[in-house]
């Protein structure tokens, strides 16, 4: 890179990115998707489903908006801020959305859930008390082959209520 101008050639390019609040310098292949680069560097919560932009399981939040990792060339994320599912919570300290998905029984095989939760997080960050129609619209594009969507919608409602209670305390 020179003068903030990205020019990749011959193999690897090092992108500077904030991943889940931490600054990282990641060597990525010029021809690699953000999804593959994140997984190769250990953020395996980002799932590779269709790799064609249809299923939503590779959703990450890039510069404040959910995008599909499989259709984003990794080098274009240079200087960007990324949130993956690992940035939300842990097994011992889950994010309210993660708790709500478990409580509502919204998780079966779990493969679509990181994408679902990141799409939901973006929704609740911008609209803390969404209507059911707004939840369905936000999750449009996150496909689930197990549960049929009812439980996920319920989970987002539960999480919104939990987070509202959290704010009142």
């Amino acid at each position: 890179m020179k003068n903030e101008i990205l020019e990749t050639k011959d193999g690897l390019f090092t992108v500077t990115v904030m991943v889940n609040g931490e600054k990282k310098e990641l060597p990525v292949r010029n021809s690699e998707s953000l999804l593959d680069a994140l997984r190769r560097h250990g953020w395996k919560g980002t799932k590779k489903g269709c790799d064609t932009g249809d299923c939503g399981s590779c959703t990450v939040i890039l510069n404040g908006r959910p995008v599909l990792g499989c259709l984003t060339p990794a080098v274009t994320a240079h200087n960007g801020e990324i949130t993956t599912i690992e940035g939300l919570g842990s097994v011992h300290e889950p994010h309210p959305l993660q708790e709500a998905f478990v409580e509502a029984g919204a998780v079966q095989c779990g493969f679509c859930i990181p994408g679902m939760i990141l799409s939901s997080k973006h929704l609740l960050d911008n609209n803390p008390m969404p209507t059911e129609a707004e939840i369905r619209k936000a999750l449009d594009g996150n496909l689930c082959r197990c549960t049929g969507y009812v439980k996920q919608v319920e989970a987002v409602k539960k999480a919104a209520a939990k987070m509202a209670r959290g704010r009142k305390k």
């Binding site: 020019e7 932009g53 060339p73 080098v75 274009t76 594009g141």
Partner: protein
Amino acid sequence: MPEFIAKPASLKELWKQLPSLPASRRYLAGGTDLVTADNAGAETSECWVDIGDLPELNGVRETSSAVFIGSAVKVSELERSAPVRKWCPVLLAAVPHFASPSLRNMATLGGNAANASPCADGVCALVAEDACVSLALGGKRRRLPLKDLFSGPKRTALKKDELILGFEVPKRPHTGAYLKLGPRARFGISKAAVALAAELSGRRLTRAAVALGSVAPVPLYAARTSEWLAGRTLSAETAAAAASLVMSEVSPITDARSEAAYRREMCGVLLSRALESLAA
């Protein structure tokens, strides 16, 4: 994806860089069409030039007579843009039909036009909005009606390296509708889509523009139907007559998504529903 991705910081830098880049090159904006084509083996350029963040292609501006929408504006930004909300009702109505929320955060109207798919929802809506497209190649600028940009499926009048700067939608009080028939209510490629822009004086259509997606080799401006509608009063009879006229104007094909006869029929149904929605 190609081994070489260049990202100029400004338009000036872009024109300076281009001659030194491999001859086999394409512009990259949101990547939703280009990366998909690449994954499918249909895109084999040696170099992509990332124009997604060029300041000259971003932002929505209002002039005294038009709304200018930069070609790299993300589709999801349109919903939040005050000038688009005020002056582009058809485009606004098309946004929820455009792919999925995450794809709308990536995809751009410029890419939607450059890709020149007959099913492009954003383009179909912009054609009904009577948009012009602004193009640049080095210092040379030109402007043409968006409907004239397309010469066939995935074919445009764009010259090599010519860049879409943005779209101008004339500011005029009008209303509109965008109705799409796909495999499901949302997140699907259309079998047929109808965009209708209308200027109304009471129940009288003083002006109308009808554009259709997925039923011709290009995003189709239905000139005869649009002209016929001007001056008519909204009624069931008008809707029925416009529906049969539009069915004679489209040239759908049978493919993996639908059948020609069904698509033709649905153009009539969607247009008549769009006209009814104005009357309501």
